[in-house]
C-alpha cells in the first residue's frame, strides 16, 4: 500500500514539472514585458530597469525558470495587468466558490446517477432501462450552456422562482442556498448521465457474478441482493471512473460559472485570457492543473485502498 502511494507520488512529480514549464513558457511567448507592466504606465526608464533586475529578467533563461519556481513556491504568482491585484489574492477568493459549486453539483448528481444506473441494470431491457439510457445519452450530448440558458430563461426569468446571477453569499444563508440551485442543477445535470451509464454497466456485470447467484440461492430478498452484493462490488470501478470524470466536470464548471456570473476560478481564467491579462491567466492555469494532479493522485490512492488487487 505504502509502496503504491510512493510510486504514484513520484510519478506526479515530473507532471508537476511539466505544468510549471508550460506556465513559464506562457510568460516567455507573450508580447508584453513584465517589468514595464509591473512598473505601471508612468514609470521612468530607471524604475523599469530596477524592476527588471529585481525580477531577474536580465538573467539567462534557465536561471529565470528557477527564480520563477522559487517565487511560485512562496506563493508569488505575479500581479494582474488589469487591476494590479496580486494573482494569488484573486485565486484565493475564487477557489472557494468553485469548490462550492462542484460540491453542490456532485452532491445530488452522483446519488441520482447511481440510483438510476442500478435500477436500469436490474430492469435490463425493460422500458425503464431504455428511458434511463436515453436520459444518459442526452446528458452526454447536451451543451452545458444550453441547459444553463434554458434554466435562466424559464426558471429565473419567466417564472421568477430563483436568482441566476452571482453567488448570494455563504451556503448556510438562505440567499447563498437559493443562488446556488440553478448553477448546481446545470453543472450536475450533465454529470447524471455518465454516472448512470457507468453504474449500469458495472452492476450488470456484478449481477452475473456467482456470489450473487449464491446470495439468491440462499433466499436473500432481491433488495438485499442488489444493494449488498451487486452494487457494493460494482461501486469500486464506479468510484474510480467518477474520480477520473472530475475533469469533465471542470469543463462544465468553467461554462456554468460564466453564464451564471459565478465568481470562481473558471470565470476568472476565461476573463483573464479574453482581456490578455497574462499573469492572471498563467496563475489560474497553473492552479487548475495542480488541482488536477492532486485529484488524480487522491483517486489513485483511494482506488488502491478500496481494491486490494490494484496494489500488487
Amino acid at each position: 500500500m505504502i509502496r503504491h502511494g510512493v510510486q504514484r507520488l513520484l510519478l506526479a512529480l515530473p507532471v508537476l514539472f511539466g505544468v510549471l514549464l508550460i506556465g513559464f513558457l506562457l510568460m516567455q511567448v507573450v508580447p508584453t514585458d513584465p517589468a514595464t507592466v509591473r512598473a505601471g504606465p508612468q514609470a521612468t526608464a530607471e524604475v523599469v530597469a530596477a524592476i527588471r533586475t529585481e525580477l531577474g529578467l536580465d538573467e539567462p533563461v534557465w536561471k529565470q525558470f528557477f527564480l520563477y519556481v522559487w517565487r511560485l513556491a512562496q506563493g508569488d504568482l505575479g500581479v494582474s495587468i488589469i487591476n494590479n491585484v496580486p494573482v494569488s489574492q484573486e485565486l484565493g477568493n475564487t477557489i472557494g466558490p468553485t469548490l462550492e459549486l462542484m460540491f453542490a453539483a456532485l452532491v445530488w448528481s452522483i446519488p441520482l446517477g447511481i440510483a438510476l444506473g442500478t435500477v436500469a441494470a436490474y430492469l435490463r431491457g425493460s422500458f425503464v432501462d431504455r428511458v434511463v439510457m436515453a436520459i444518459s445519452v442526452a446528458g452526454v450530448s447536451v451543451p452545458v450552456f444550453f441547459l444553463g440558458l434554458l434554466l435562466i430563461w424559464l426558471v429565473g426569468f419567466q417564472w421568477q422562482l430563483l436568482p441566476f446571477t452571482g453567488r448570494g453569499g455563504p451556503l448556510w444563508t438562505m440567499d447563498g442556498l437559493l443562488a446556488i440551485i440553478l448553477p448546481a442543477i446545470t453543472l450536475g445535470g450533465v454529470f447524471v448521465g455518465p454516472v448512470a451509464r457507468m453504474t449500469r454497466s458495472a452492476v450488470v456485470d456484478a449481477l452475473q457474478a456467482e456470489h450473487v447467484r449464491t446470495a439468491r440461492a440462499k433466499g436473500l430478498g432481491e433488495g438485499a441482493v442488489v444493494r449488498r452484493h451487486a452494487l457494493r462490488n460494482a461501486l469500486i470501478p464506479v468510484v474510480t471512473l467518477i474520480g477520473l470524470q472530475i475533469g469533465f466536470l471542470l469543463g462544465g464548471a468553467v461554462v456554468t460559472e460564466t453564464i451564471f456570473s459565478w465568481p470562481g476560478v473558471g470565470r476568472l481564467a476565461v476573463g483573464a485570457i479574453l482581456s490578455a491579462d497574462f499573469p492572471m491567466a498563467q496563475g489560474t492555469i497553473i492552479v487548475l492543473s495542480a488541482g488536477f494532479i492532486i485529484i488524480n493522485l487522491v483517486v489513485d490512492l483511494l482506488y488502491g485502498a478500496l481494491d486490494p488487487r490494484v496494489r500488487g
Binding site: 451543451p143 450552456f145 450488470v204 468553467v254 497574462f278 492555469i285
Partner: protein, 280 residues
Amino acid sequence: MAAPVKPSVLRMLGRDLGGALSLGMVVLIVLAAILAPWLSPRDPYETDLLAIMQPPSAEYWLGTDGQGRDILARMLFGLRVTLLMGLASLLAGGVLGALIGFCAAFYRRADGLLMRFMDILLSFPAILFGLALAAIFGPGEVSVVIALSIATVPLMARIVRGSALVVMGLDYIEAARAIGMSDGRLIWRHLAPNCLSAIFVFSTLRLGQVILLGSALSFLGLGAQPPLAELGAMAAQGRNFLFIAPHISVIPSLGIFVIVLAFNLLGDALRDALDPRLRI
C-alpha cells in the same frame, strides 16, 4: 478515416431503429453543411437593421439575430465551421494517437514510456488545454483545434494499443514475421486493418465530444470569433438578447445538441454492430 464499411454493417445498423435514425441524421447534417451555399436563403453575414430579432416566420424560417442576420443561413454556414473544427481536431489528434498506439503495441520496449506519457496527457481535461492554448496563441479556431487534438491523442493511443495488442498475439502476425516482412509493412498491412473497427467506433463517438467541447470553447469566446458564423459563438452572442428574443441563442444551442446526439447514437449503434461483445 476511410474504414471499409461493409454492407453487413450497414444492414445491421438498419435493423436497429436507433442506428438507422442516427445514421440518417448524420447524413442529413453532413449534407446540409456541404450544400450550405445552395440551401441558404440569404448571405449569413448580411445585416438588416430593419429586421433585427425577428421571431421565426415565413420569411425568416428561424428568425433573425441581434443584427438582423438570417439565423437559418448562419446555422447552415455555422454547421460547416463547427464540423470542420471537429473533424480537424479528430484527424490531427487521431492520426498521431493511432501512430503512438501502434508503436506502443509493436515495440514493447517503448510501450511503458509512451503510455506513461499518454496517461499524463489523459489526466488533464480538454478544457484546460483549451484555456492554455488560447492564453498562448490568443483565442481563435486554431487554438481550439490544437487543444482538442492534444486531448484526443492519448484516447486514440489507448484504443489502438489495446486492440493492436490482441491482434499481435495472433498466429498470422508470427507468420508474416517469419516470411521476413518489414515492421512498417506489417503494421500497415496486417495490424492497422484489424484495428479499424475499434478506431471507427471511437472516432464517431469522439467527433461528437470534440464538437461539444469546441462549441463550449467558442461559447466562452476562446474559439471562433464574431462575426464568423459558428454555432457556439452564435449561442454566446444570443445570450445578450436572452430575455427579449430567446430563439437567437436557443436555436444554435439546440443545433449543437442534435448534432452531438446524432454522433453519439451512431457511435453506440456502430459499436453494437461491429463488436457485439461490448453490447450489454
